[in-house]
């Protein structure tokens, strides 16, 4: 459990929270880190936008719906400019009926179109979870493979900032449980572009989990990413940093914390390998096994609850694999605290894994002071 004592105790809150779910100020702006003058950069938001734009341009079957996605450009401006370009038939504002528009997306997908269904946040997708799981995820199977459901459900997932118990949950392991769904979790701009494009092209229902606090973060825009055919394979993890002493597996925003921790550990002579999971289902356990066989140590990091979380799943699969024999210490799970998200900012900070938590746990697992 992430239970770290933070020095931010008692600091006054910034105006970072909202109920109508929009425009917040990320607490940790990582933009500066990548903003060198020599490399071109792109924010996660822009990468998502261009992924949708390019796929809509390429395939007239693709369309997008959700609350405030058209006129208002989306609660987080991910769909900016798309209404002007594609018109109200393909960028569709819906009434506030998550179950309704998720159902419409499923029905339209079963009928040969390729809808992208945006949720203001995945917290509100809970109202639509029956459509996503029981219909979206199962109709292909139940129809004996006759009717595919090429729908994309996307939106911010996981903890934002200062929005308390009902708005701060990570659904990776919820959806990851369902045979019939594919689930990806986006960390950087490369993931955003490559995985969202892959999700739109995929003939299966795909859940694309984004992170609100990463939308404004800039990352390098590589030549490869500029291609209209830049897609990343769903089901493949990425080794975000190579190392030989310990493997850290994370997804979404904690990938950044893991990379930061690895950087700090490197200064002390500890070489950590960081794996960005990217795909929750299918889970790329082979990449993790291979890494563990090399490093002999494994730490998992996620913002979701520890019970039945991604870390639990990865630990179990590692136990069942040949990698178990290579482990020199038990697998360590770092997860969100096992409590409804506190509203108090200091407690919220303490409920989520940070660079510091990872740094400390790695040293504990390696038994170094």
């Amino acid at each position: 459990m992430a239970f770290r004592i933070s020095s931010s105790f008692g600091l006054s809150r910034s105006a970072a929270s909202r109920l109508g779910m929009r425009m917040t100020f990320p607490r940790l702006s990582m933009a500066a880190r990548y903003n060198s003058t020599t490399t071109e950069t792109i924010t996660v938001r822009e990468a998502l936008n261009s992924a949708i734009d390019e796929e809509m341009e390429a395939d007239p079957k693709v369309w997008l719906l959700g609350e405030e996605v058209a006129q208002y450009n989306g609660a987080y401006k991910v769909t900016k400019g798309l209404l002007d370009k594609y018109g109200p038939d393909r960028i569709v504002d819906t009434p506030i009926t998550e179950m309704g528009f998720a159902g419409i997306a499923v029905g339209a997908a079963l009928s040969g179109t390729k809808p992208i269904c945006e949720f203001m946040t995945f917290n509100f997708a809970m109202q639509a979870i029956d459509q996503i799981i029981n219909s979206g995820g199962k109709t292909y199977y139940m129809s004996g493979g006759q009717v595919p459901c090429p729908v994309v459900f996307r939106g911010p997932n996981g903890a934002a900032a200062g929005v308390a118990a009902q708005h701060s949950q990570d659904y990776a392991s919820w959806y990851g449980q369902i045979p019939g769904l594919k689930v990806v979790s986006i960390f950087d701009a490369e993931d955003a572009k490559g995985l969202l494009k892959a999700a739109i092209r995929d003939p299966n229902p795909v859940i694309v989990l984004e992170n609100e606090l990463m939308y404004g973060t800039s990352f390098p825009l590589t030549e490869a990413m500029k291609s209209k055919d830049f897609v990343l394979p769903i089901g493949k993890a990425k080794i975000a940093r190579e190392g030989k002493d310990i493997t850290i597996v994370a997804h979404s925003r904690p990938v950044q914390f893991s990379l930061d921790a690895a950087e700090k550990l490197a200064k002390e002579g500890i070489s950590a390998e960081v794996i960005n999971l990217r795909s929750i289902r299918p889970l790329d356990i082979d990449t993790i096994i291979k890494s563990v066989k090399k490093t002999n140590h494994l730490v998992t990091v996620e913002q979701g609850f520890p019970v039945c979380g991604m870390g639990s799943e990865i630990s179990a699969q590692i136990m069942e694999s040949e990698a178990f024999d290579y482990l020199d210490a038990p697998v360590c799970r770092i997860a969100g605290a096992d409590v409804p998200m506190p509203y108090a900012r200091n407690l919220e900070d303490l409920s989520l894994p940070t660079e510091e938590t990872i740094y400390k746990q790695v040293k504990r697992v390696l038994n170094v002071q």
């Binding site: 105790f9 809150r13 929009r22 208002y72 506030i96 308390a164 009902q166 506190p342 509203y343």
Partner: protein
């Protein structure tokens, strides 16, 4: 109504200054007070979030409002909710839940529970045993959720004593009501469920009062639900995270505020009756603002909820693992009081 307005001004400003994290005003919708006035103080109330006026009318005072918004040690919610998400068992006001429309079927359930226990139920405040009635508030946007439809149908078929009170303020964040539905508002849906329905001018406090009073009478005497659609206008932004100038003309807001505002209309009515004048207006306004600022200052100065309280309320009895964590933390806190700024936190939960 004036208190609600003054309180909204102060707390809205406070959010802008970073002193509280979030706020939602009721500007333009102060007429809601009329509905609360028509209910019995013991009637259970379910809100969406823009019903501070109804809660204030119930006697939830400025101190309680401020304590919640500042999440201090006097907040009955122990600082676990965002500002405006009030709840008060004492005032029979159910805690606000953020996911829209969830309060609607729950309110129907509460009404059914009232009906089931009607013989043993607490009498009204005036001692009469003519039964109680639930009131459930929601916006015209939330009425698009499936929960709204389930709630109406269930309340109708189970003959639940409940008033569904729709605040139709023209917008759901940026979505104007003309894009929220194509039918005749929310009222037309009541008819479809076999629920007697009335649409009322939400900016006319007396009309809201009269409609709710009559609705309540029908509910408790005939044991059936009533739907009220109260037409008003959201003068303020959706919340402090919203800038409504991005989706509606300033002039529209100004026009409503100028020509059809519940506060102004009430004031004019009182003046016409000879019960109010500019002088009284000024004095009252000053007094109320002073009261609001006093409560604000008091709440801001208070300590945060007690440290051990963070372990409470997931479990009724702490499991051993949490007992150990708690003991460890309290030991650390005892050892390093300055590091943990122990003096910022209350010793005990009030």
């Amino acid at each position: 109504m004036m208190t609600l307005n003054a309180m909204d001004q102060v707390l809205y400003e406070a959010q802008r200054q970073g002193r509280i994290s979030f706020y939602m005003t009721s500007f333009g919708e102060e007429g809601i007070v009329g509905s609360a006035a028509a209910m019995d103080p013991n009637d259970p109330m379910f809100g969406q979030y823009r019903e501070s006026g109804a809660l204030l009318f119930r006697g939830f005072n400025l101190d309680q409002v401020m304590n919640q918004c500042f999440s201090n040690d006097l907040d009955k919610g122990k600082g676990r909710q965002m500002p405006v998400h009030y709840g008060s068992k004492q005032h029979r006001f159910h805690t606000i839940s953020s996911p829209l429309a969830t309060q609607l079927p729950q309110a129907a359930g509460a009404a059914y529970a009232l009906k089931r226990s009607s013989i043993t139920t607490t009498p009204n405040s005036n001692g009469k045993e003519d039964g109680q009635c639930v009131i459930c508030y929601f916006g015209e946007g939330a009425a698009s959720e499936g929960d709204f439809h389930s709630a109406l149908n269930m309340a109708a078929t189970l003959e639940c004593p409940i008033i569904f009170f729709c605040r139709n303020n023209g917008y759901a964040i940026s979505t104007p009501s003309v894009e929220q539905y194509k039918g005749d508002g929310v009222a037309s849906r009541g008819i479809g469920y076999g629920i007697d329905t009335i649409r009322v001018d939400g900016n006319d406090v007396w009309a809201v009062y009269a409609a709710t009073l009559k609705a309540r009478e029908i509910v408790v005497t005939q044991n059936k639900p009533i739907l009220i659609e109260s037409m008003s206008y959201r003068v303020g932004h959706h919340s402090t995270s919203d800038d409504s100038s991005a989706y509606r003309p300033k002039k529209e807001v100004e026009d409503w505020n100028l020509h059809d505002n519940p506060l102004t209309r009430m004031r004019k009515w009182l003046t016409n009756q000879g019960w109010w004048n500019d002088e009284v207006q000024e004095i009252t306004k000053k007094q109320i603002r002073a009261d609001v600022l006093k409560a604000f200052g008091d709440a801001e100065a208070r300590k945060k909820p007690s440290i051990p309280s963070m372990f409470e309320d997931v479990y009724d009895c702490l499991p051993q693992s949490l007992v150990e964590q708690k003991n460890e933390i309290m030991e650390l806190v005892r050892k390093y009081p300055d590091y943990y700024r122990v003096h910022d936190f209350a010793k005990e939960q009030q």
